[in-house]
Assembly symmetry: C2
Homo-oligomer: 407 residues x 2
């Protein structure tokens, strides 16, 4: 039996970097970059107008006002997407649109709002001054050719998608998402599509585990239900080790069938690194490694399974692909009612929590029957943490709170 | 020009409930339920052992201890998934596995750890007492047949996936995800796969907008790049109105082509409800409705576009499908350095923020060149909010902070 902090440390120490692959631009959302990304162009690629207006020589309009407007000859119109053909001389201006290249000769763009067009667009009255150089984004002002715009390891979020598009990276080098293979164990377990016969129950854990793995940023592979039988377990765990990066079993870690799962793992060359954690819920939790592959034997109780996966397996899924935020966000909370436990194991208690005015949260314990009640979890958005030696937590006590809101 | 709070209110007032559909169990993750979900079985479906051990009559072992063990006849073995065949009488016990039905006659399960098997499994020595009724989960203790287990409108997270599996709902009635059609405007804009010629830039906003829409819980449909031309705009916006729930345009809302987009919208029967917001970045932002369809004309500047979509369009995407958390989480933050602005518009400033010990965050302003710099956004995980009339925010001032971490 080991402490929770040691269990997390052992899992993370045994988590190795996954290999890389390439995905299409829009599919890259949520992946981490496997290489530095460099720009193939200057950005902006030319001196660019940032307003609709007139490109001109700033000196020409230094005295302009609505009382003493300056009138300039309009020599060209430059829509976005075109290339200016004429050089702007003294007393001249070119009509220019946002995003269009500033023509040679011009050093300033005046907003259209500060002008009046006249003579059918052949002349413009400038009604106000503007600073020389105004309303122009300079070539390379944001990025120069070959500059690194996104670093290896960066998480691809919407702004990164925009940057990849801007530098033309339509096939994106990324770390692969770990494949989590999920196995439900138990001769009494049937698929959700079936009506359980007497003595049977539906596979519920397998599906919530897959949903958790997806949310943790993994791919999933459902390996099905395996009966409590040594050969079957060995066959399906073996299939998982062959085809997945992480194998997760639900159930089969309690005293009765416990040896079956551990024996199957050992027969397949998996080194078991721990099988009991001083935590509640979720004491019987087996973790093993074979090369780069990880195996988690999660408890059959739904709440234990959910908590074990979020606190131990999710960090591994994320570390594998070089994500930096391995753990759920943690805040401080205050309990709304007394909480009691029989001391001995660090406890993670499902709670419904709301943020308070000054950053401190408030938590309502979500009652459940032991560790089997999935319905309690559906009312929870967080876990508050009670130290092993504490028996009574009075209302108003401040505790650590693990946020599960991103579910 | 309207205030930001009014803009948000107008968008939400014009956001109507979307229609419903049915998806497969594992696809339901992240959807909201369109109907109450009821259980088709009792849970547990029978009195169930919660431990591996022996089912027996509690009265038989009231005096058991390791010094004075009680020996019982083992009459049956009940693996999980089977139905007990024998009634447990006085002086008898049935070996039982976790999850198996408790046999008639027995009222208690004693953990295997408190027993010793003897006579080749035909007898069991009970070494400790246990409370009558212990280690049994009662029929219907969690849920009774026909009880509502998940309410209409509930967001499907991993625990809800587990519950749906447990009650056999493998086709899930859900609100449809709104389809967001994305249009990039501008004759100078080319697809990311192309190398921009002089005067051209790549479509970057369209892709970051699609990524934002996905993250906001929408489906996406890319409607492509449209040049600044009345007929083309009308055709593509029309296609968006026909095939999508929300149409988003990038660019085409600045003074020059502004009228083109608004004219196209009006020609298509879209009522424009506002087109300028007293906010920074993102002042020129057009919002219109046609029946249940919403149209957002977002600014062409990347930062303005990102902020406008997160603060105005995302709440609409979420309200449509009855999600309850429309807005990003908001906390309090303290600025690490002075911040100055020219007053007049409420400002949302991209920042890199870290949570502090007592729930108050600390924010570093992420410098950017006006509102065009997507690279600044890539360094941000939040927006701090500066009121319109404030000119100088000294370091250490507490401000509202909008968290964008779930990106």
């Amino acid at each position: 039996m080991i402490e929770m902090d040691d269990a997390i440390r052992i899992v993370l120490e045994n988590t190795q970097l996954i290999d890389t692959t390439t995905v299409d631009l829009m599919d890259a959302l949520g992946y981490t970059l496997a290489e530095d990304v460099r720009s193939d162009i200057h950005m902006p690629p030319f001196d660019k107008a940032t307003m609709d207006g007139y490109a001109l020589q700033g000196g020409d309009i230094a005295s302009a006002s609505s009382n003493t407007p300056v009138v300039l000859d309009v020599i060209e119109e430059i829509p976005a997407g075109t290339v200016p053909q004429k050089v702007v001389g003294q007393g001249q201006a070119s009509r220019i649109m946002t995003g269009a290249p500033v023509p040679d000769g011009a050093d300033t763009v005046i907003m259209v709002e500060d002008t009046e067009s006249e003579a059918n667009g052949q002349k413009v009255r400038v009604l106000d001054v503007t600073q020389v150089g105004e309303n122009i984004a300079r070539l390379g002002e944001d990025v120069m050719v070959d500059q690194v715009v996104l670093e290896k390891g960066a998480l691809v979020r919407p702004p990164e998608i925009g940057i990849l598009a801007a530098v033309g990276v339509v096939r994106v080098p990324v770390y692969r998402k770990p494949i989590v293979g999920v196995i439900a164990t138990g001769s009494e377990v049937v698929e959700p599509s079936l009506k359980p016969r007497p003595g049977q129950i539906r596979n519920s854990n397998g599906y919530s585990m897959m949903a958790q793995a997806l949310r943790a940023s993994a791919q999933i592979k459902y390996l099905g239900i395996v009966e409590d039988d040594a050969e079957s377990l060995k066959r399906v765990i073996g299939e998982g080790l062959d085809t997945c990066d992480i194998v997760m079993l639900s159930g089969g870690v309690s005293a009765g069938v416990y040896d079956l799962v551990q024996d199957a793992m050992r027969d397949l060359g998996v080194e078991v690194l721990f099988d009991r954690i001083r935590m509640k819920p979720g004491k019987p939790l087996t973790f093993g490694v074979k090369g780069k592959k990880l195996v988690f034997g999660l408890p059959g109780n739904p709440v234990s399974s959910v908590v074990g996966l979020e606190l131990l397996a999710r960090p591994a899924i994320r570390k594998m692909q070089t994500m930096t935020m391995w753990h759920h966000a943690q805040v401080k909370t205050v309990l709304k009612a007394d909480f009691r436990q029989s001391p001995g194991r660090k406890q993670f208690v499902p709670a419904h929590s709301v943020p308070g005015e000054h950053g401190v949260w408030t938590s309502d314990w979500v009652g459940h029957h032991g560790s089997a009640d999935l319905f309690a979890l559906a009312r929870a958005n967080s876990l508050f943490v009670v130290d092993a030696e504490v028996e009574h937590v009075p209302a108003g006590t401040a505790l650590d709170l693990i946020l599960l809101e991103e579910w």
